[in-house]
Symmetry: C2
């Protein structure tokens, strides 16, 4: 048992269910906080647990550079390395190579790129991405794809999509041959389930014997609905336990993002988890969940927090503004998070204006709480058969 | 009732007791974490509570510049502003003016200095320091003194000490005339005692009716034992509920610091709390507590944490070192803090090397835990009549 997906209720196209992974159960639709370098920036793991984060995302590109796959593997995999007992997903590194490297060179074999840290030269292929992701040891890993730039002409979108399909087949082949090499697979002892804060959980042991990782395929095809359909069909033909829609949120207008998601979902199997990568605002994640998306991730709540931009039930708040200097009220009167329960807007404004590290810590906790709470309400609304939106 | 000090046990010169303030009880000898700008850098207030911090220190100079005394006063004082229900002490601003301003101008009236933030000109006097500290509203505030530079000749040490004595008298006069203006004094409702995490505690209400702040005097006199004796006598003659030894840790050798502390303590009343400002290493705070010091504060545990320097039962650890890259053990095997219980040296090293904010957060939590735990053990050893040292 490496992955199991059960839909428990539907409302129109939207569905809510359970995704069982080797390191825990995930309620879908789910938002995954981004923990690029084995840390959700500024937030300790116990607070992430308290916030109800059920799965977090790690970035293979960043972890490959620091601390390196060898170190993560020797430390028992990413769960044990960062002491995170719950589920983890890693991306393939393809998107970061795309977004952080203007000088990358792509050919059929893979991508040559330079480290954004020291300029050193590196090479990612479907096989080396799988090798890295197996060594890191997330529960769900992603096929190595090419994220098509925006805008791009049809010929470019088509050839890029076709290469992603060939890379998906190579990713699957390598993964199937090597999946038993995941650091936690050889651990024979499978402890009994215990409370999330016990010593057991910190070990990062899988919950089931003989579990391996699960590899998801990625649909590309740019902003062309027909190419997206073709990409979906070719990816499904290769066969994966879950499917992602990649290559969105790369500069296209929001209406187009939604249109591509909606049309692509029609071509994906309903009994498999469907993951839209790199989205979005609170309004967008609700909208996409209502379209039938099961998983999403985005740096927006954590990155915006670092810039003092906070999401609340009353809209966005830029906490740096002088109007909050003597505002004794909570950031969001309707929010039950530990930040809104304890601190005033005046205090949060002061921390931000004074460049205090606690500003980032508290802002991030609130924004993540808002995102996770929003998805909790979406799941609840689907179970009740009611519409939910902002 | 504004301050009450009870010595409960002694062992040689060392003593352990209770200091009761309007915002809670403090076990002495105590180490006070520094929260310069209404935040112990990187650590949220609930974690400080969990660590067992009973009193924290705020810096008047910094709070005066940001967010400003008026804002803190309007928000109900520093306890309510930062949502810290326990005791607070503020310094007078004298030391920061001394250490952060090379262009300060001192005369009998006070000190003219330039803001380290924007170069704007400001003036601190005994009266304006009291006004600021009353507006900020800590439980214990400090007389405005001149910190004598090191080295200094005897004439300079003597004239500086004498000015500090005159400023102490002016500080006390202003304080006695204005102490009822503290933001929390006019609050008529005194809620009943409740658990530290209840809504009540977050309000920052004092625990007793009609409580005011307490003003401590500061002994100066440079590195001259006779001048220190004279300063102690003159400060005691003015009369304060507690006495501090200032002007140490300004560049002098450690043996001299200890000598001045030991000799000055002989001239301070045994029934009042005795506070050495701005010290020290774990070894030093144990040593000074053993000499009979009741209170200490220092930026060392928090500042060192930000530079990856960690205090452990096995000595100092520079976590940035490559030797910890794959060290799966805890930072300090004998430490029960939430960092040592959950994370490995390899993970802490990775966070530091990757410049992750969580490095500062976790390092600071551990160092503060080490300091607070050390003082807990010192208090315990005094009660048992046993010697404690590193």
């Amino acid at each position: 048992m490496s992955l199991q997906f059960q839909i428990e209720a539907t409302r129109g196209k939207a569905r809510t269910g359970l995704l069982l992974t080797p390191h825990g159960e995930i309620e879908t639709p789910i938002f995954m906080p981004v923990g690029t370098l084995a840390s959700v920036k500024g937030v300790s793991q116990d607070i992430l647990e308290d916030l109800g984060a059920q799965i977090i995302l790690g970035n293979t590109y960043h972890l490959y550079l620091r601390p390196g796959v060898d170190t993560v593997r020797r430390m028992g995999g990413l769960h044990r390395f960062m002491s995170w007992p719950r589920a983890i997903l890693t991306d393939s590194g393809g998107f970061q190579v795309f977004s952080l490297n203007e000088l990358r060179k792509v050919n059929e074999e893979g991508v040559t790129f330079r480290s954004h840290l020291d300029g050193s030269s590196h090479f990612f292929s479907p096989e080396s991405s799988m090798e890295a992701q197996i060594g890191i040891g997330a529960d769900i890993i992603m096929a190595f794809d090419e994220c098509t730039e925006f805008p791009a002409d049809r010929a470019r979108m088509k050839s890029s999509m076709e290469m992603t399909a060939r890379w998906a087949a190579r990713s699957k082949k390598y993964f199937e041959e090597h999946k038993h090499e995941v650091p936690w697979h050889t651990q024979r002892e499978i402890p009994t389930l215990a409370s999330p804060k016990s010593g057991e959980s910190r070990m990062g042991h899988p919950l089931f014997p003989n579990a391996t990782q699960s590899l998801f395929g990625i649909v590309q095809g740019g902003m062309d609905r027909d190419l997206r359909k073709e990409s979906a069909e070719r990816t499904i033909e290769i066969g994966f336990p879950g499917y992602a829609i990649g290559g969105l949120s790369v500069g296209e207008p929001r209406d187009l993002t939604r249109e591509i998601i909606e049309s692509t979902l029609e071509h994906l199997p309903t009994d498999k988890p469907r993951y839209v990568m790199g989205v979005g605002t609170p309004e967008e994640i609700v909208e996409y969940a209502n379209l039938g998306v099961d998983m999403m991730d985005c740096v927006l709540p954590t990155r915006a927090a670092r810039h003092g931009l906070l999401f609340t039930s009353e809209g966005k708040v830029s906490i740096k503004q002088a109007r909050y200097t003597q505002d004794a009220g909570p950031l969001d009167p309707k929010c039950g998070c530990r930040v809104c329960q304890r601190y005033s807007r005046a205090y949060l404004r002061h921390l931000y204006a004074s460049n205090e590290v606690l500003a980032q810590v508290l802002n991030t906790i609130h924004n993540l709480s808002f995102y996770l709470d929003t998805m909790r309400r979406v799941r609840h609304s689907i179970r009740l058969g009611e519409e939910f939106g902002f």
